[in-house]
């Protein structure tokens, strides 16, 4: 029984952390290019409803993911036009996108509220998923969970091991220098923003097609905002984003297991519910408390509008 418990906690932790990882990594790349897009919550919502609608009509969850991604790209394109081309304030544009996205998703989603979607079978990796304890958590998951792991490696590799990644970071550190040596700052920032939007859309798709296979208004329930803060607390490091996301998911699941164990422990439920937030912030602040590293990792031009000809 004990082993089974731990196994279910691990499994649920990985599932709960997955949308956070995907969305946060997208935002991380966006922010590394010096753009602060606060629209994740709205983008996720629109991605979720688009994915649900397509998965429902075609019966194909994979097409649902693509639709979520597409919707996310469109949403971030709106942000790009406002913040990059028209050079509006990034914070205001992002907040507007969040509010707009949540409302828009509710509007599009009306006809889908009464629809139930069949849950998708996980992808089992032969033999490996039978490993006790870790098997189900690591090798009996939805495709997007494996995708999130690939994404962590890919983003880390891209940012720190490729020339394009170096250029992107240069744009985020000093857009003026990057511009003066001939890099298209606005173009690169657009690419980063669209990538972030695509990931937020996929995160939304994970919510509505795989995690809780349904669509209801407000189902993203603040996960976009959690992903945004994860990026900051993880000091823009992909591996730390993963630690933070799993820590958050793990604490949420663990406190539920404590509550559901039937053992009388006199800890207020409100405190237990707040624990995931508190623990994540605390741990990430502790591991990234070195001021030098924070300054090194945080993109210097974050949130600043870039005028190409200034």
């Amino acid at each position: 029984m004990g082993l089974n418990f731990i196994s279910s906690i691990l499994f649920a932790t990985v599932v709960a952390g997955t949308p956070l990882i995907i969305v946060a990594l997208g935002e991380l790349v966006t922010e590394k290019a010096g753009v602060l897009n606060l629209g994740a919550e709205g983008t996720m919502s629109v991605g979720a409803v688009a994915a649900f609608a397509v998965a429902h009509h075609t019966g194909n969850p994979f097409l649902g993911i693509l639709a979520g991604m597409g919707a996310g790209i469109l949403m971030s394109l709106l942000f790009g036009i406002s913040a990059l081309t028209l050079m509006a304030n990034q914070v205001a544009s992002g907040l507007a996108l969040s509010i707009f996205g949540v409302g828009l998703s509710a509007f599009i989603g009306k006809p889908y509220e009464s629809v139930a979607l069949a849950s998708v079978e996980p992808i089992r990796i032969p033999l490996l998923h039978k490993i006790p304890l870790f098997g189900p958590a690591l090798f009996e998951q939805q495709g997007l969970v494996y995708f999130s792991w690939v994404l962590i490696v890919a983003v880390a590799w891209f940012l720190y091991r490729t020339k394009a990644g170096l250029v992107l970071r240069a744009v985020g550190e000093s857009p003026v220098s990057a511009h003066s040596i001939g890099y298209g700052v606005v173009r690169i920032r657009y690419q980063a923003v669209l990538f972030g939007g695509a990931m937020a859309g996929i995160g939304g798709a994970f919510m509505s097609v795989f995690y809780t296979p349904m669509w209801v208004e407000g189902m993203v329930a603040g996960r976009g905002w959690i992903a945004l803060s994860l990026v900051v607390f993880a000091t823009w490091r992909p591996a730390r984003v993963m630690i933070g996301a799993y820590l958050f998911g793990g604490c949420m699941i663990a406190q539920m297991f404590v509550q559901g164990s039937g053992v009388r422990i006199n800890i207020p439920a409100q405190f237990l519910s707040a624990m995931p937030y508190a623990a994540t912030v605390l741990v990430l602040v502790l591991i990234s408390r070195n001021r030098g590293t924070i300054r090194l990792n945080s993109p210097a031009s974050l949130g600043q509008t870039f005028l190409p000809d200034a």
Partner: protein, 362 residues
């Protein structure tokens, strides 16, 4: 020129006024909802009631609703707006609208207000609520009879008396037929977060609960039970609405709110000028609480027993909180031979015997 215009305007105003006073046209009835109408849940049931009432009183009333109104300062503005727009009867359907409704009701003495689930009333403000614990008790009886693990899981929103009452009623129902029964509670501290509700349900299922129910607003819990039904034999009880669409196999029954009849009756009273204040707490007898249809997985003799118990609740022979009511610590809260009073039920801040979890102290 100017004076003539003014005279015309006054005349037009007078004409408008008098037509309004002859009241040949339908009376406007407004509803304020806390969440989107959606397809299931608390607000959905109120909206079903509104539609039923509108259909039954065609020609006499027109209705309008505003959904997704946050509790708090915004609510007051919207309730006031509704009164200003000429709505004669206004229903505000969430606990947090209590103070704003009371405030606005004082400035519009000719409008009649009704507030759901609160405790403040006035000369032109009635209150109404439903005794859903009666349905919960019967759900508990089914759970107690059918559980193989003797463990039921309860996904709950906030530790307020209304929610605690439901948990206790369920536990008492379960315990009445199964002495080994225990109810485990997970608080998610949110009325609506499908992801969290689902995780809580999955956690309870993983820890051995084969009966699952919820006091939250989405269908996620019933869906989770449906997903695990084949593997773990999990059953579910829906709340607010019948959610059998989301748990065609797993849902055994549920507790459903029915507001339509109440709305028809109350509005007729107001229109006939017979209204003298409302303080309705209606249950199965009044038809305001119904059992969601029992699925065919509930054995026939158990179905019969439930129908019989339902009849006894309606006649008042059976009360879910009939003494002795003993709390977790073993303290007797209601003595044998008496029923718990309404006010005691409405301030319940302890678990009864049969609930395994610790009560979340504030």
């Amino acid at each position: 020129m100017k004076t003539r215009n003014l005279a015309l305007a006054t005349l037009a105003g007078a004409v408008l006024c008098s037509t309004a006073l002859t009241a040949a046209e339908p009376v406007k009835v407004g509803f304020i909802y806390v969440s989107p109408v959606g397809d299931a849940g608390w607000t959905y049931q109120h909206d079903l009631g509104r539609k039923q009432m509108e259909a039954a009183m065609k020609g006499a009333v027109t209705t309008k609703f505003i959904e997704n109104v946050p509790e708090g300062a915004d609510a007051e503005r919207i309730i006031r707006q509704m009164a200003q727009d000429g709505n004669q009867i206004i229903f505000t359907t969430s606990f947090g609208y209590m103070n704003p409704t009371e405030k606005v009701s004082k400035t519009f003495p000719n409008v009649t207000f009704f507030h759901a689930t609160g405790y403040k009333s006035g000369a032109n403000m009635g209150i109404y609520n439903a005794r859903f614990y009666e349905g919960r008790y019967l759900n508990g009886v089914i759970a107690g009879k059918m559980s193989k693990t003797n463990v039921a899981g309860y996904v709950a929103a906030f530790p307020i008396p209304e929610v605690v009452m439901g948990i206790n009623a369920f536990a008492r129902g379960m315990k009445s037929v199964n002495p080994k029964a225990e109810v485990r509670v997970i608080w998610v501290n949110s009325w609506f977060d499908p992801g969290k509700e689902r995780e809580a349900a999955m956690t309870l299922i993983a820890q051995g609960a084969d009966m699952i129910t919820h006091h939250t607003d989405s269908t996620a819990v019933v869906q989770a039970a449906e997903e695990k039904h084949k593997e773990k034999g999990t059953w579910a009880f829906s709340y607010h609405s019948d959610m059998s669409k989301y748990g065609p196999t797993a849902q055994l029954s549920g507790t459903t709110h029915v507001w339509g009849e109440f709305y028809i009756r109350t509005i007729k009273e107001v229109l006939d000028k017979k209204w003298k204040g409302t303080n309705v707490w209606g249950g199965m007898k009044e038809g305001m609480i119904q059992l969601a249809p029992m699925s065919k997985s509930v054995p026939a003799d158990l179905q019969k027993q439930i129908v019989k118990l339902e009849g006894e609740i309606k006649t008042g022979k059976l009360h879910p909180f009939a003494g002795p009511v003993v709390d977790q610590a073993g303290k007797e809260r209601v003595a044998k031979g008496t029923n718990m009073s309404d006010s005691d039920m409405n301030s319940m801040n302890y678990y009864v015997q049969g609930v395994a979890s610790a009560f979340p102290k504030n």
